[in-house]
């Protein structure tokens, strides 16, 4: 456990040593801010709905960008050798890095609380739905992060890692978007695998254990693959 926290802390510090974290979070706030503004002033609605529907899309870029370096960079610079010859396990490395990206992610998500405060001043938003939306975002973000970490173990090139996670995520995201052309039995399977479907459920304000289990399974599966992939570093 102390190894995991050592790795997480180091990783978080690395995010904030470099301008990456600041740039990403500013960018995130800029886009969400724009959507918030148009929503508030043009449509005159006191909800976070618009923001909650845009964040999953932003995440498709944002999360691969924060996870791409985590392990790929260790491989490129050779520090993976330092790390893997100390008494830490692959699992501790992967989980440590995952928690670190989660921290950055939650920081970004919580930065949008500014909008909630503005809403609360200007109108009376539905607190329950907003809370559910945040829980959904964090779960979804965690799933994306696990995919990103896994992709980062595959290559020593950050860009390759970005592209791989981007594609995995976008495929999982689009799965339930073309259901009209597909037989119903297959459609419901695809829907269950789709990463966005579960978020839509949660964002409606219904927190169903199936949706939570889905995200936790995605996290678990991809972190498991990440450990296996890191363990198979035969050629490094």
């Amino acid at each position: 456990m102390s190894n995991i926290s050592a790795i997480s802390q180091k990783e978080i510090r690395t995010y904030f040593y470099s301008p990456v974290a600041y740039i990403l979070i500013s960018f995130f706030l800029l886009i969400t801010g724009w959507f918030f503004g148009t929503n508030l002033f043009l449509i005159n609605e006191a909800t976070m709905r618009n923001i909650f529907s845009i964040i999953p899309l932003i995440f498709i870029f944002f999360i691969p960008a924060i996870t791409m370096r985590t392990i790929a960079e260790e491989k490129r610079s050779g520090t993976i050798e330092l790390l893997c010859t100390t008494p830490v396990t692959e699992t501790q490395i992967v989980v440590g890095k995952f928690f670190a990206s989660l921290v950055l992610l939650v920081a970004a998500i919580l930065s949008t609380l500014v909008y909630v405060i503005i809403l609360a001043i200007l109108g009376s938003p539905d607190g329950g739905i907003i809370l559910a939306g945040y829980i959904g975002l964090i779960l979804m973000g965690a799933a994306y992060s696990a995919i990103g970490i896994f992709s980062s173990t595959i290559s020593q090139n950050q860009i390759v890692a970005f592209i791989i996670s981007f594609f995995i995520i976008i495929i999982l995201f689009l799965l339930d978007k073309f259901l009209y052309f597909i037989p119903i039995w297959l459609g419901s399977i695809l829907q269950y695998i789709s990463i966005d479907f579960h978020f839509q459920n949660i964002a409606r304000g219904v927190i169903d254990s199936r949706d939570i289990i889905y995200y936790l399974s995605i996290v678990f599966i991809f972190l498991f693959f990440a450990c296996k992939s890191l363990y198979k570093r035969k050629y490094l």
């Binding site: 102390s2 190894n3 050592a6 040593y17 050779g78 050798e81 330092l82 893997c84 010859t85």
Partner: protein, 314 residues
Amino acid sequence: MIEVKNLTKDYGQLRAVDNISFTIPQGEIVGFLGPNGAGKTTTLKIMTCFMPPNAGNVYIDDLNIYQNSIQIRKKIGYLPEGCPLYGEMNVIDFLKFVAELRDIEKASIHKRIKEMIQTCGLKDVVHQEIGELSKGFRQRVGLAGAMIHNPEILILDEPTSGLDPNQIAEIRALIKQLGREKTVLISTHILREVEATCDRVIIIDKGKIVADGPLAEIQNSFHNQNRVYFEIKADTHMLIDEFESLPNIDSIQLYSKENSLYKFYVNFSKDKDIRPDLYNFIKSKEWILFEMRAEQRSLEDIFRQLTEKVEDNE
């Protein structure tokens, strides 16, 4: 004690390490010498549990890399080739990070870091970013990280490569000092390195061990010739011929001849020391002997010959 047994490692089609075995008793400083691509780094990566071999095992005391990977890592301090470090961290944060990964107790982390800063001479750079340090300092930081948990065994992969001569001397002195109570394995492709720091050398080439023992022993056993260097002043054109006609001589190599000063080597078989005969022969002549000394064949020579001989066999 370290025991490497029948280690083999393939990268696809390429056999990087080919069934090698050696043992290193506790407290010895051993050089792992071989030209680039010989398989040194691969062997060290296996010994430090970074990656598994295709066959064979490494034992450290009664532990082995398959069943006791974590315990073995605890006993070893490792400086990987090229000294990879987190460039964006500063020195003290890096040492803290490594100390935490090494499970050093919270209470003694601070003391341990201070000690390493002291021994490795890092006082002036503790708050600097590692990426901005000179190569010499980076190497010291790497060593400090490798030593922070006070391991029994220190494994260093080309610890002085890329350094300037002053830095090399400093790092060697540091290794010698650090290695006083430890078992140390230093890989290098430079013979000087081994001469400067090691009790014993294991020479590897094309994934195979071609020699193993104290340097002097290898040097002796390797060639069965003795060699004497002469400088003689003589008013004759026949000096070399006269030497060649002596019994028990293998060959004469003329090094230079200026006016009547001859500089040359006499090679003769190890079986019989003919130096008294040579001396008596010269005494019987009207020559002036300027110098006569036994020559060791240079280690560079032997190393080159050892690591090329295998090539010839293929």
